[in-house]
C-alpha cells in the first residue's frame, strides 16, 4: 500500500475505526504536539480531573506510532482494473514529524514475521529487547488479531487478552461499552439454551444468564466444547468460531452506522460526479473508467456485506423458530471466521473511501470539485477499493 498525501491526511483527520493514534495527549485532549488528527482524540472529561494520556505503548520507539487497518495494495499491480492481492493488514505508521503527521513517514506491516528484530532493523537499534518492548509486542498482537479498530471491538479485545491499558484511547465510554456488551450478550441467549439441551445436568443448577456470561467470556471448556460439538465445530476452533460470531453480530451495527454516509457517496458517484467544465476526451474516458470501477467495487462490497448479514439473520431466525432448525446456524458457523475477516476488509475499504470523500468534498467550495480534484478523488477511491473476493463466501 502506498497512501498518497491526500489519502493519508484524510485517514488521519477522520478519526475513523481504521486508525488508532497511540501517541500521548495532554489533559486538554491535544497530542503532545499539534497534529492534523487531533479531532479524533478522546475527549477529556474535565481538564482539572483528567490525567494526561501517556503514550499507549511503553517503549520510546513506539511513542509516536499511529496504527492503521487497511487493505493490501501493491505497486506490482499497477494497471487499472487489474486484480490486486487483497487482505486486511495492520500497519504501524511513524510520522517523520510528529507535529505534522500528514506529511509522511515510515511504515511497517505487522505480519507473521513481525518481531522485535523488525523494529530494531527499522530504527537501527540493537538493544530493544526488554520488558517494555515485550509488553508492547503483546499489545501489537491484539491490534493485529482484530479485523477492525472499531472502539468497542478493540476495547473488548484488550479485555479478553487480559492486558491493562488506558481505556480512554478507545473513544467509547464505559456506559456505551456496557450497553453494547449487554446487547451482544443477549443475542447469545438461544445458544445458551442450546447448551442447556446438550448439558441437561445444568438445568436445575444453572441460570440462563450464567450460561450466556460463560459463552461471552469463552473461557469455560466444560460449556463450550459440548456445545461446539453439537454445532459440528472442531474443538480446536471453538473459541475462534464463537468469537467470530459475536464479532459478526457486532459488525452489523457498524455497517448500519455507515449506511447513510455510503448512500450519500453512492448517490454522488452515480449522479453528481460528472465534471462541471470541459474535459479532454482522453482524460474524460479515463475518469469515467475510474468512476465505473469505484462504483462497481463499492456496490459489490456492499452487496457482499448484505449477503453475510442475510445469512446471519436467517440462520438466527431459524434457530429460534418454532421448528428450532439449527442447520442454517450450523452452516453459518462453518464460514463465520472468514465472514468476520471479510467484513473487516469491507469495513476498512468503505471507511477509507468515505474518509477520502468527506475530506475532499468537505474542503471544496460549495461542495463542487474541479476536474483535477475529481480525478484525484476518484483515482484515490479506485486505489483504495479492491475487487471483492467472493471465493471465501459461503454459497
Amino acid at each position: 500500500m502506498s497512501l498518497d498525501r491526500t489519502q493519508l491526511r484524510a485517514l488521519l483527520a477522520a478519526g475513523s475505526s481504521i486508525v488508532f493514534d497511540a501517541r500521548g495527549r495532554d489533559t486538554d485532549g491535544q497530542t503532545e504536539t499539534p497534529n492534523p488528527s487531533a479531532d479524533s482524540a478522546p475527549a477529556p472529561e474535565t481538564q482539572e480531573q483528567t490525567p494526561p494520556l501517556l503514550p499507549f505503548f511503553e517503549h520510546a520507539v513506539l511513542k509516536n506510532c499511529i496504527l492503521m487497518k487497511t487493505i493490501e495494495h501493491t505497486t506490482r499491480y499497477a494497471k487499472r482494473d487489474e486484480p490486486r492481492p487483497q487482505g486486511l493488514q495492520t500497519r504501524l505508521y511513524f510520522p517523520y514529524d510528529s507535529t505534522q503527521t500528514g506529511d509522511g513517514g515510515i511504515s511497517l506491516i505487522y505480519d507473521e514475521k513481525f518481531s522485535i528484530g523488525t523494529l530494531e532493523a527499522c530504527f537501527g537499534a540493537s538493544n530493544l529487547n526488554d520488558d517494555r518492548i515485550r509488553a508492547d509486542m503483546r499489545k501489537l498482537a491484539v491490534f493485529a488479531k482484530v479485523p477492525s479498530f472499531s472502539p468497542f471491538l478493540l476495547r473488548d479485545a484488550f479485555e479478553r487478552a487480559g492486558l491493562k491499558v488506558d481505556t480512554r484511547y478507545f473513544r467509547i465510554t464505559d456506559d456505551e461499552a456496557a450497553t453494547l456488551r449487554d446487547n451482544l450478550k443477549a443475542k447469545l441467549k438461544p445458544l445458551a439454551a442450546m447448551a442447556l439441551e446438550v448439558l441437561p445436568e445444568l438445568i436445575n443448577s444453572t441460570h440462563l444468564d450464567t450460561l450466556v456470561r460463560k459463552l461471552w467470556q469463552l473461557d469455560d471448556p466444560k460449556i463450550l466444547l459440548p456445545l461446539s460439538r453439537a454445532l459440528k465445530i472442531d474443538d480446536a476452533h471453538a473459541i475462534d468460531v464463537f468469537y467470530a460470531w459475536i464479532g459478526v453480530s457486532y459488525f452489523q451495527g457498524e455497517f448500519a452506522a455507515r449506511q447513510s454516509r455510503l448512500r450519500t457517496l453512492a448517490d454522488w458517484v452515480v449522479n453528481k460526479s460528472s465534471p462541471i467544465e470541459y474535459v479532454h476526451d482522453v482524460a474524460r474516458l479515463e475518469y469515467d473508467s475510474d468512476r465505473n470501477v469505484v462504483r462497481e467495487r463499492l456496490r459489490r462490497a456492499w452487496g457482499s456485506v448484505r449477503g453475510v448479514f442475510e445469512r446471519y439473520n436467517s440462520s438466527y431466525d431459524a434457530l429460534i423458530s418454532a421448528g428450532q432448525n439449527a442447520r442454517p446456524f450450523v452452516e453459518f458457523l462453518q464460514n463465520v471466521r472468514a465472514d468476520f475477516t471479510s467484513l473487516g476488509e469491507r469495513l476498512s475499504m468503505i471507511e477509507q473511501c468515505l474518509s477520502l470523500f468527506d475530506f475532499t468534498v468537505g474542503r471544496a467550495r460549495g461542495g463542487r470539485l474541479h476536474f483535477d480534484a475529481l480525478q484525484i478523488l476518484m483515482r484515490g477511491m479506485r486505489d483504495i477499493s479492491v475487487e471483492v473476493d467472493l471465493s471465501r463466501e459461503a454459497a
Binding site: L196, F255, A322
Partner: protein
C-alpha cells in the same frame, strides 16, 4: 392454527421473565401466541395454575398479565406454552424489545 403459530415471528427479549403460579421462569423466545421458557425443578407443567404474568424490569409495557396458558411441548431444557395477552399492541412491544431491534436493515444503497 398450528401452521399459523409456526409461521409467526419469534422474538428474543433479554430479561423478560414469565411467572407461572408465582414462580419466575426465564423466557427463551416468544411469538405473540407461544412462549418458550427454561424449565424449573419441581413444577408440574401439565398442571400449571394461574396467576400467569410477564415480568420485565426494564420497561412497564412488557410487564403484563397473561390471561390463558396451555402446554404445547416439553423439552429437556425448555417448555413451550400457548398463551394469550390482552391488547393489540403486544407484537409491537415484543418487536421493540427484541435483541435485534437496534439493528437498521442494510439496503441496496447503489440501487
Amino acid at each position: 392454527m398450528r401452521t399459523d403459530r409456526r409461521a409467526q415471528m419469534r422474538y428474543v427479549v433479554d430479561g423478560l421473565m414469565l411467572e407461572i403460579g408465582g414462580i419466575a421462569h426465564e423466557t427463551l423466545d416468544l411469538s405473540t401466541s407461544a412462549v418458550a421458557v427454561i424449565r424449573k425443578p419441581g413444577v408440574d407443567y401439565k398442571m400449571v395454575k394461574p396467576p400467569f404474568r410477564f415480568k420485565f424490569e426494564r420497561s412497564v409495557d412488557a410487564d403484563c398479565r397473561v390471561s390463558t396458558m396451555k402446554l404445547l411441548r416439553e423439552g429437556r431444557a425448555d417448555i413451550v406454552f400457548d398463551y394469550r395477552v390482552e391488547g393489540a399492541e403486544w407484537e409491537s412491544v415484543l418487536r421493540r424489545h427484541d435483541v435485534r431491534a437496534d439493528v437498521e436493515p442494510l439496503e441496496d444503497v447503489f440501487g
